[in-house]
């Protein structure tokens, strides 16, 4: 019996997706200081479905290349601190199936 792999990681999931990343980011943290001083939970690093937000000691790293363009971070950021745009036409995520 083949076994369903337990706990497939987000990296493995993201590997299944096709991206045509733009050279510049369509996502911007408006004020880095707010993440550092006013946001202990850094909840975007939890709810982002592609884990593109990663806290690196003193700043938020935004791996926009793997973004699903869902909009959760714009709506869910408790400080409305994310400037969210669509990637340039034809760029970003390319779903092939679902």
């Amino acid at each position: 019996m083949s076994e369903q792999k337990k706990g497939q990681s987000i990296e493995e999931k993201q590997y299944l997706v096709r991206f045509n990343a733009d050279t510049k980011s369509h996502l911007h943290v408006k004020d880095e200081d707010i993440c550092l001083t006013q946001c202990p939970d850094k909840i975007c690093t939890i709810f982002c479905p592609a884990e593109i937000y990663k806290w690196e000691d003193i700043r938020m790293h935004v791996g926009y290349e793997g973004c699903h363009e869902c909009g959760s971070c714009r709506i869910g950021c408790p400080h409305q601190n994310i400037k969210w745009e669509y990637p340039k036409g034809g760029h970003g995520i390319v779903f092939r199936l679902g």
Binding site: K13, L16, A50, H68, I75, F95, L97
Partner: protein, 431 residues
């Protein structure tokens, strides 16, 4: 592009394509703009396409559209950690014409549907983002795109730009949504042999099954999971209010893994291979989150206007109907040479008088209610599981004794009153 169109439709999903199709068919000069590489490349849904609303646009589309399986069985699983109470309906009438609904893969279906609109005469331009509406004297007169010299003009602009609905928001038609007005859904397409699917789901060839998952699938947070059969793959997903993920600090992809490894689900998907992972928002604020949907020279349709019936997992059908009505309103306006809000309001009137508006109103309190009172998912579904387990476990205890025990387990008199009140309340918000 300096030429002027009768109508520009922003976004090639079910709403936008339906609208463009009907407009082109009605003789209007219509431009359909899509930001993705092709229609469907940015679009996600669990996968159920309803036959009726699609046939209102293209009769007998099922004879040529790229569909997965006609759904002959719909199951609902109320899950606890290691058990489930399942109800469902299977009927052979759904397996033949005219069918009830189908599973689809959107990247394939939307491309096909957009081609049909092009055959009718719509101009489809991909890889183009609309940055904003061009407004003159309070009237929308065109759009500004991200292409060089990207201003395009039209008598009417139809906004079908999906759940994020940034264009309607920038026109002041609605506020930014809050985390309890949207659900974040993640899903995977799992490749599995056709024959294995048919054996596991008790299906014959060209028959499909949908299973909706409640309760432990979302760890008690308001939301649902789903497992749908495609031709040679399964679609599995889970969606919860964004506010629920925030409150419980849950990673959506870990919740998806939890569902995939749940003992009630794992046997269905065993041995399958992940082909794609997708995330998308669903507008779930309902009627109360709907903003303005008509203005001078502009109409909002589909997800962009919050048209989703979350209780019945319907959305694409509402989108298609809204697109069709919008097209008819634009054609009437074209005839009259009047593109004012007053003239275009025939769209809103028809929408609200028909099943779309009726259902939106019927369920206007449902998301809010079930979100406010988490006991439905947290407590009552496990309670139903426990009662079923007690009743059906044969251990020498008489059925009367068992019933007594189940009644006692419902709690004190006060707790029973609360339960009764909650059941009545739930009935009230969905009746």
């Amino acid at each position: 592009m300096s030429e002027k169109f009768d109508c520009i439709v922003v976004g090639a999903g079910p709403a936008g394509i339906s609208c463009a199709y009907e407009l082109a068919k009605g003789g209007a000069k219509v431009l359909l703009l899509e930001r993705g590489e092709y229609p469907g490349s940015k679009n996600v849904m669990g996968g159920v396409l309803y036959r009726k609303m699609m046939e209102d646009i293209i009769p007998e589309f099922y004879k040529e559209a790229p569909l997965e399986r006609p759904v002959v069985e719909q199951r609902f699983m109320m899950m606890d950690k290691e058990s489930a109470v399942t109800v469902g309906y299977k009927g052979m009438e759904w397996g033949k014409e005219p069918y009830n609904n189908f599973t689809v893969l959107r990247a394939k279906f939307d491309q096909w549907f957009a081609e049909k609109a092009v055959e009718q005469g719509a101009v489809l331009v991909n890889e183009t983002v609309v940055l904003e509406c061009i407004v003159e004297d309070g009237k929308v007169v065109g759009v500004r795109t991200d292409r060089p010299n990207g201003e395009i003009y039209a008598d009417v602009v139809v906004l079908a730009d999906g759940v994020n609905s940034l264009l309607a928001q920038s026109l002041g038609f609605h506020k930014e949504y809050k985390p309890d007005e949207v659900a974040l859904a993640t899903m995977e397409v799992l490749k599995l042999d056709k024959k294995v699917i048919e054996d596991r789901f008790n299906l014959e060839e060209n028959q499909g099954c949908t299973i909706e998952l409640f309760g432990d699938a979302t760890k008690g947070i308001l939301g649902t999971g789903f497992l749908y059969t495609n031709k040679d793959s399964l679609s599995i997903g889970v969606g919860t209010l964004l506010s629920g993920l925030i409150k419980h600090k849950i990673k959506p992809y870990e919740l998806l893994e939890y569902v995939k490894n749940h003992p009630m689900i794992r046997p269905y998907i065993q041995g399958s291979e992940s082909q794609e992972y997708l995330a998308h928002l669903i507008p779930e604020g309902g009627f109360k989150s709907m903003g303005r949907i008509v203005g001078d020279g502009v109409i909002v349709i589909g997800d962009a206007s919050q048209l989703v019936n979350a209780i019945h997992r319907e959305g694409s059908n509402l989108a298609m109907t809204s697109g069709r009505y919008a097209a008819e309103a634009v054609l009437l306006a074209k005839q009259a040479g009047d593109f004012s809000e007053k003239m275009l309001d025939s769209y809103r009137m028809r929408l609200m008088a028909g099943f779309v508006g009726q259902d939106m109103q019927k369920y206007k309190d449902s998301t809010h209610h079930f979100n406010k009172f988490p006991q439905y998912f947290e407590d009552y579904i496990p309670m139903v599981n426990k009662a079923a387990s007690q009743m059906f476990t044969v251990d020498g205890t008489s059925k009367w004794e068992k019933q007594k025990k189940i009644w006692k387990d419902l709690g004190t008199g006060k707790e029973k009153m609360k339960l009764a009140r909650d059941m009545y309340r739930a009935w009230k918000v969905i009746k």
